[in-house]
């Protein structure tokens, strides 16, 4: 076991982890943050996307030990109290979610995308989200939601 210390959603967390424990499972199992979902084994689906030191990463492809000393933001950490983050609000208003399983990953990927490219074209949005898969929505409303969030200055 290795002892690590990291900041998750603004709070310091200390944890003992097996080296093979993924960041996704540290978040889910030890910190009780169930919003980050594991949807595949091959770093393909992006349902596990979180921010690591401000950049989107797939938490299923990071060992918890690699996050030692880092700042992690999950979907639970982006809304202020009960008010939704502008990206969450846009997803709601544009009906960009159905079963919801891929949604936290898309929301975090979107936050990172808009940080790097605040005014993306539709093509840039689609390419910017190529690392996230959805089976329900056909992506159409997700793209509209990202556009709305960008307009709102998210």
């Amino acid at each position: 076991m290795t002892r690590i210390a990291l900041t998750v959603n603004g709070s310091r967390c200390d944890a003992d982890v097996e080296p093979r424990q993924l960041l996704a499972y540290l978040l889910r199992d030890q910190l009780g943050l169930k919003g980050t979902n594991v949807g595949c084994d091959t770093t393909s689906c992006g349902a596990c996307t979180v921010l690591l030191d401000g950049e989107s990463v797939k938490s299923c492809t990071v060992f918890a030990v690699q996050a030692d000393g880092c700042e992690v933001t999950t979907v639970e950490g982006i809304s202020q109290g009960r008010e939704l983050h502008p990206v969450q609000q846009a997803f709601h208003e544009l009906h960009a979610l159905q079963c919801g399983y891929c949604t936290p990953g898309f929301v975090m990927a979107t936050i990172s995308l808009l940080k790097e490219n605040p005014n993306p074209s539709e093509e840039e949005i689609r390419l910017g989200l190529e690392g996230n898969l959805c089976r329900c929505t056909g992506y159409h409303n997700i793209v509209r939601a990202v556009q709305a969030a960008a307009r709102a200055g998210a």
Binding site: T43, S56, T61, F63, V65, S112, E130, G131
Partner: protein, 268 residues
């Protein structure tokens, strides 16, 4: 899935990493982890020890070094994509990096990790081979420079010794193009073609046409003796044994290589 258990050590320097590797013959290096961790999760790869070099931030850089551009082995793909020195002097490398995986992968994957992992479907290996890049490695016996042409020895195999760590990659100033045919945007290349002018010569590289990245030497020779792009491109698959898999048959790959080599040469 869950990886098989392993020991973990964090290296504070390259020399420390070298020593740690020496302690276990089944040890592997962990950089960005985006080649290794997927393989470990499926239990295709089961190192007994991971030596983590991911914190060696002094290996993240791009700068001019004489007639070459020097790139630290731990530079992330996303950093290559936005680097101004590369944009000016070797945009081909940045353009290829932009086609790897997806944004999340590019935030973590490193050029050294990707190249050392040696997937024949990797884009950067082809770029380095096409550019006659040099790869600098440090091991127990000190530092050495390996030419790209000698680096890729087989599928997921390279010329590095067990205790060697890639520290830097050196590419020439060069203009070129990389065409990547994919099924889906974030896929590995079905076939990739790099064409670049290096020291006045046109050099052509191929992804996913064999067990390593390949140089299309017959194409290059044809061009050197004055053949048109179309005529030279007809040789694109010469001497290659492209795989058949769920993405494409060997014959279709050969066809793609010919088409893409012609297009890449026409763009140069």
């Amino acid at each position: 899935m869950i990886a098989a258990a392993f020991e973990y050590e964090l290296a504070g320097s390259v020399d420390e990493a070298v020593a740690m590797l020496g302690g276990d013959e089944d040890a592997k290096l962990l950089a960005g982890g985006h080649s290794l961790i997927p393989a470990m999760r499926l239990r295709f790869s089961r190192p007994s020890l991971l030596v983590d070099i991911g914190r060696l931030d002094d290996l993240r850089y791009v700068h001019e070094n004489g007639d070459r551009i020097a790139i630290g082995a731990l530079t992330r793909h996303a950093e290559l994509v936005r680097d101004p020195v590369l944009a000016q002097h070797c945009a081909l490398l940045a353009e290829a990096a932009a086609l790897i995986g997806d944004p999340q992968v590019r935030h973590r994957g490193t050029i050294g990790g990707s190249v050392a992992h040696g997937d024949p479907a990797s884009d950067l290996g082809t770029i380095l081979l096409t550019l006659d890049a040099e790869l600098v490695a440090r091991g127990a016996d000190g530092e050495r420079t390996i030419r790209a042409a000698e680096f890729f020895t087989g599928p997921f195999e390279n010329a590095l010794g067990h205790q060697e760590v890639l520290t830097e990659i050196r590419v020439p100033r060069a203009a070129g193009t990389y065409l990547k045919h994919v099924r889906r945007a974030h896929d590995w290349a079905t076939v990739g073609v790099a064409a670049a002018r290096v020291d006045g010569r046109v050099q052509v590289g191929l992804t996913s046409m064999g067990t390593t990245p390949l140089r299309a030497r017959t194409v290059e020779e044809a061009l050197a003796s004055g053949a048109s792009p179309a005529d030279a491109a007809a040789h694109a698959a010469d001497g290659t044994m492209p795989p058949t898999d769920v993405s494409a048959s060997s014959e279709y790959r050969a066809h793609l290589a010919r088409v893409l080599v012609r297009r890449a040469l026409e763009r140069l």
